[in-house]
């Protein structure tokens, strides 16, 4: 026998279930309880940079939209700094960089408004391409799924991104690139997340 290591084990994850909104978005569940719900304003009023809208669907293995998803976004500001003590530098007053959205119960569409993030430091050398970190929880998802949203119009940065480049199958990298369009003067990025099957989105073990 050897000595026992005294690390604790991480608490096991469980599904967020179909009523996740009660805890994390009670207004959507149908009642008003808190002075302010968290996660509705990612950038605050002072954020610099390009204002964008990000929208999409989460689609299951049968091709159906998942209508009880909650997504969380975590991103840097337009200069590539995260609002965190180890985040690289200062951010605008009021910039949190974190957001939370739920899907429409009828259509499954979700959307949030933010600013386009700047490039951030890579793990080793070089910079990461602009990206938004996403975390997806729902009924039927036992452990939250991590993915990243990159931007179609950042082709040069995407080509040298250290994370995209460790995905061995180049075809799969495309599942992480949001499509840019303009609607009523607003910049819109479309990002559908496919949980399973054809063109399944890349998910990360971070």
């Amino acid at each position: 026998m050897v000595q026992k290591l005294d690390y604790l084990k991480e608490t096991p994850s469980q599904t967020a279930g179909p009523y996740v909104h009660i805890g994390l978005a009670p207004g959507a569940a149908g009642f008003d309880i808190y002075r302010q719900e968290l996660g509705w304003d990612i950038t605050g009023p002072n954020a610099k940079g390009e204002r964008i809208r990000v929208e999409g669907l989460v689609i299951d293995g049968t091709g159906s939209p998942v209508k009880d998803v909650l997504l969380e976004a975590w991103q840097a500001n337009s200069e590539g700094n995260y609002a965190h003590p180890e985040g690289g530098g200062d951010v605008e007053d009021g910039f949190r960089g974190w957001g939370r959205v739920i899907t429409d119960f009828e259509t499954g569409e979700w959307a949030f408004e933010t600013v386009k993030p700047g490039r951030t430091q890579g793990r080793n050398v070089g910079l990461q391409a602009p990206h938004i970190n996403l975390w997806v929880v729902a009924r039927g998802i036992n452990v939250g799924l991590n993915t990243r949203l990159y931007f179609e119009d950042e082709a040069e940065a995407n080509a040298e991104d250290p994370v995209l480049n460790i995905i061995e199958w180049e075809r799969r990298r495309a599942t992480l690139i949001a499509k840019r369009s303009e609607r009523d003067g607003q910049i819109v990025y479309r990002f559908d997340i496919k949980l399973q099957g054809q063109d399944e989105t890349v998910f990360f073990d971070i």
Binding site: L8, K9, Y19, D60, W74, G140, I141
Partner: protein, 242 residues
């Protein structure tokens, strides 16, 4: 010099796998390809920061936070409390803990819940708090009831409180469920059994904590939460590109 680096990798044999067919909804919502493993960059070792300004002191008291003045919800008055620790056993202070649950009869205040047990007019079912400097949190609530769900014809969830915890990094983000000591439904639940080993399942069961009860008032359960630990070593290298 000692610097903090990456987080310990998540033990995917300890955590539930994505595909757990006895929990039927997981079948079409589980990725088929393997996860791509990422060593942590700044995007993973950072995460949102919350403070006491974000929430109100009453938010952790589910007996009061949706009750009409002078009234209170029906059910077993309980305290659920514990510490948020990392895998090194260190407390995680100032981190947001959110909770949600059904009422004493197993009914959720949610427009999609149609179970025939009634809504309690004095019970909302959600709470939130920020851990103190020792990583300690506390909620006061009523003990939730079991409720039926459409999985097999006759499946009932054990009494449970959903918990959402942030930690200090996006890679520590966790949602789980707290069960209660002695509940015979725990061993029968396909969602509990998504967790592969018995020791892991047991770690989600809050213990009756008579030392923390308020005599003649409120019974107590203790539920500690462990988030991923982090390396702290002179050999940690190259996180910032040197």
């Amino acid at each position: 010099m000692t610097t903090k680096g990456e987080f310990y990798q998540r033990d995917r044999e300890w955590q539930p796998p994505a595909l757990t067919p006895d929990y039927k909804t997981s079948v079409a919502r589980s990725p088929q390809y393997s996860l791509i493993s990422l060593q942590n960059s700044v995007s993973e070792i950072t995460g949102p920061v919350f403070g006491h300004n974000d929430i109100d002191p009453i938010d952790n008291d589910l007996i009061l936070n949706y009750a009409k003045p002078g009234e209170s919800p029906i059910g077993e008055r309980i305290i659920v409390h514990g510490r948020v620790l990392d895998e090194n056993g260190r407390p995680i202070p100032n981190t947001l803990v959110e909770a949600w649950q059904a009422n004493a009869g197993g009914r959720y205040r949610h427009k999609k819940d149609t179970y025939l047990a009634p809504i309690d007019p004095n019970f909302g079912g959600c709470g939130r708090t920020v851990t103190d400097e020792n990583g300690y949190y506390i909620f006061r609530t009523i003990k939730p009831g079991a409720y039926p769900w459409r999985n097999w014809v006759n499946n009932w969830r054990p009494a449970h409180i959903h918990m959402s915890i942030f930690g200090t990094a996006f890679t520590q983000r966790l949602i789980t469920q707290c069960y209660f000591e002695g509940d015979p439904l725990i061993d029968k639940c396909p969602i509990v059994k998504t967790i592969p080993c018995q020791q892991g399942r047991d770690s989600l069961v809050a213990a009756l904590d008579l030392n923390a009860t308020i005599p003649l008032d409120t019974i107590a359960y203790k539920f500690d939460i462990v988030l991923r630990g982090r390396r702290s070593t002179v050999f940690e290298n190259r996180l910032e590109g040197n």
